[in-house]
Amino acid sequence: MKSVKLGASIVAVAAVAATTGYARDNIQTAGSSTVLPYATIVAEAFGENFDFKTPVVESGGSGAGRKKLCEGVGENTIDIANSSSRITQKDLDLCASNGVTEIMEVRFGYDGIVFASDIAGPSYAFTPLDWFNALGAQVVRDGALVANTNRTWAEVNPALADKPILAFIPGTKHGTREVFDTKVIEAGCKEAGAYDLFFAASAGADEAAKKSDAAKACMTLRTDGVAVDIDGDYTETLSRIAANRDAIGVFGLSFYQNNTDKLQVATINGVVPTVESVAAGDYPVSRPLYFYVKKAHLGVIPGLQEYIDFFVSDDMAGPDGPLAAYGLVPDPELAATQAAVAAGTVMGPLE
């Protein structure tokens, strides 16, 4: 087998030698599956209307995309990483060690995260407190922490329907889960007063350690089968809801908007999630969407500057553009983003 592999490598090297002078003329992007539909819509319109090739959009997850961006500078590395969470210091260190020093951070909009259930079932009006009391491993009863035994939504909050609690939440590898944990579960935990109890009970050495202990305890969910992690995508959550009609699933706003004939959406704090309510800041569960551009590739890869300008243009990412029609919440500060992209502003160190 060794000889075979050697042979294959020789052939590969020969193939490389045969193509010296190969220059990439299409943009390569990779990253978040949440950003993927927006990126494909932009790429498609870009390919149609510009004299450049249609960019190639890979999925694979925000973290994987940023790691690929940081692999180095050169035509066999990607130009843009799509990300549904902010780049981390670890990524930046990796980038720096591989010579990728200048990165442009572009925030092009927001993604709303919605709770939806089967269209034929009862409708729900949740608060973060309801979610914490339904899914938290330990909840507050009479001022003390007890194990969560709530079986139905009516036990959590008498105003809710008398249906068993069953929630399909994104698995821990999803960026959506982080938003769910901090904006819903942790918020509910603080509202319930459980955070303070966890904080008091923590054995941490100092304030910071106690805080992180308390936050971790807040986000510890029940393990008795009421909260089901979905490691796949939203289509899997949708089919699980079709099989379990009492269940509630966590979706992206755009996915819900394309399946309104099968799903009904729950309100959070009385606010119905729409593009407008997320943009106005009334709907609490949302997160910014980014893409990161390798500045060293600007001017080398044809069409890269045009593509990023086009991505954040009003025609695309604006309130009347196709991205908003698909479910992207437009960034109120889009004009500032456009100026930064046009000027090629490089991101500074993370705060």
Partner: protein, 453 residues
């Protein structure tokens, strides 16, 4: 039975059979019953697997077959010079300044006019609703058509445009009036209009060649998504696999089987080949990323890298059946060749290899079929991607980005728009047809050319 000292009388003596051949004794009945039980188990197993297969095929075909039909509108479209070619020079470079937004307005005007001519009422529908029954892909198709034929500007042409995916779903039964009422992307009024357009002969369903030839499309236009880039990508990869693994695999197996000395090293190699054939394919993807992209500097998402990775994966799976085929050639053939004075090389290439060729080719084709259906190693080398441009002609095209058939199935199943469900199953049907053809060729080759001794 432990007491053997009792003499011959204590030995277990099988009594001479005195039963009739016509009436079965207890033992025979038990043996026959065991056979009947085993046969019943076998029949149940076969039935279960057949049912599973039928169920699988039925669900795939029933969901996927609508992807091969698509709803189109054929309307006369006026191409006004004032809008599409302000300079009047018919120069495609100047005309390219008009974007798809401009062409969308042209289509909307043409559609509104066609509806009015047929006397169809559009009460309760905004102009945007009327335009909404047409695919977002339509302006791009019209623009490409006009830019390719600039002389058409100023004329009125009959142009066929795709209907919106939801309208198409209505004629396929996926979208109903009830679901449209709840759907934010379509209104029942638009479906009523579509129904009237069908009655007026403007809109019709026909076979969808676009599903085979078009490239992938974004989430907003499932009706325009096709397998074109994926089929080319898979085809290119199979060429690379064939060109590399056939000579390497045959040379390796001929050497190992006919020439290599039998020692510990060749034993080790043999064990390694058997093990490599069972290594999960994603491992080859990681290897491919490290060797071909990061070290050798080959481009991402390119069929050449996919083909190289699949070659590595396929090689052991080709070498094993090739060696088996060589082994099955009787030694008498070799001996006879050597006996009349042939060299070992001549005996192998004139006699053994031709006789083993059908077996080697069968193994090769089955190895290719396995490689064709492989997704996991492609994940890491950037082929699980949205690619809209067709790769170029070989050999340069091997270095252009492309997708692959199984990858297309995977990426369509995760899309949000329900229109992609039928497309994913349709892609599975196409993949299955390819696999079926390849396996059929393998069987025919074996039947036609295999020699038995």
């Amino acid at each position: 039975m432990t007491d053997v000292s009792g003499g011959p009388a204590a030995l277990p003596v099988s009594k001479p059979r005195r039963g009739s051949l016509l009436t079965q004794d207890a033992l025979t009945r038990r043996r026959n019953a065991a056979e009947a039980r085993f046969k019943a188990c076998g029949a149940v197993a076969i039935t279960l697997s057949m049912l599973a297969l039928v169920w699988l095929l039925f669900s795939i075909i029933s969901i996927g077959s609508p992807a091969f039909r698509q709803t189109f509108l054929t309307i006369p479209i006026e191409l006004p010079e004032a809008k599409l070619d302000k300079s009047g020079t018919r120069d495609p470079a100047a005309m390219a300044k008009v974007t798809t937004v401009g062409y969308a307005a042209v289509i909307q005007a043409a559609l509104t006019k066609a509806i009015k001519e047929k006397g169809i009422s559009t009460d309760g529908l905004t102009p945007k609703d009327i335009a909404g029954i047409v695919s977002l892909e339509a302006p791009a198709q019209l623009r490409n058509h006009v830019l390719a034929n600039p002389d058409l500007v100023g004329q009125t042409i009959d142009f066929e445009i795709l209907a919106n995916g939801r309208v198409d779903g209505f004629f396929k039964g996926r979208v109903t009036m009830e679901s449209a009422r709840l759907d934010s992307n379509i209104k029942p009024g638009q479906l009523v209009l579509a129904q009237q357009l069908v009655e007026a002969g403007i809109m019709a369903q026909r076979f969808n060649w676009g599903f085979i030839t078009f490239p992938d499309a974004s989430d907003q236009r499932p009706e325009a998504a096709g397998l074109g880039v994926a089929i080319i990508g898979s085809f290119y990869m199979m060429i690379v696999v064939l060109v590399l693994s056939l000579p390497i695999g045959v040379a390796a197996s001929v050497y190992l089987e006919e020439f290599a000395p039998k020692n510990r090293l060749t034993d080790l190699i043999e064990v390694n080949i058997a093990n490599l054939a069972a290594v999960p394919s994603i491992v080859f993807g990681i290897l491919g990323l490290a060797v071909f992209i990061n070290f050798a500097g080959l481009p991402q998402s390119a069929p050449i890298v996919g083909g190289l990775v699949l070659t590595l994966m396929t090689l052991p799976r080709i070498i094993i059946p090739a060696r088996a085929a060589l082994k099955s050639v009787p030694p008498s053939i070799r001996d006879a060749a050597l006996g009349v004075g042939a060299s070992r090389l001549q005996s192998v290439f004139h006699h053994v290899l031709p006789l083993a060729a059908p077996g080697i080719l069968t193994g090769m084709i089955i190895g290719l079929a396995q490689a064709l259906g492989e997704t996991a190693p492609l994940l890491l080398i950037g082929m699980v991607a949205f690619v809209r441009d067709y790769p170029g002609m070989p050999i340069d095209g091997f270095f252009d980005p492309a997708s692959a058939l199984p990858v297309q199935v995977f990426s369509w199943t995760v899309r949000g728009d329900p229109g992609f469900v039928e497309r994913a199953s349709g892609a599975i049907i196409v993949l299955l047809v390819f696999l079926l053809v390849m396996n059929a060729v393998a069987i025919i080759l074996r039947r036609r050319f295999e020699r038995r001794w």
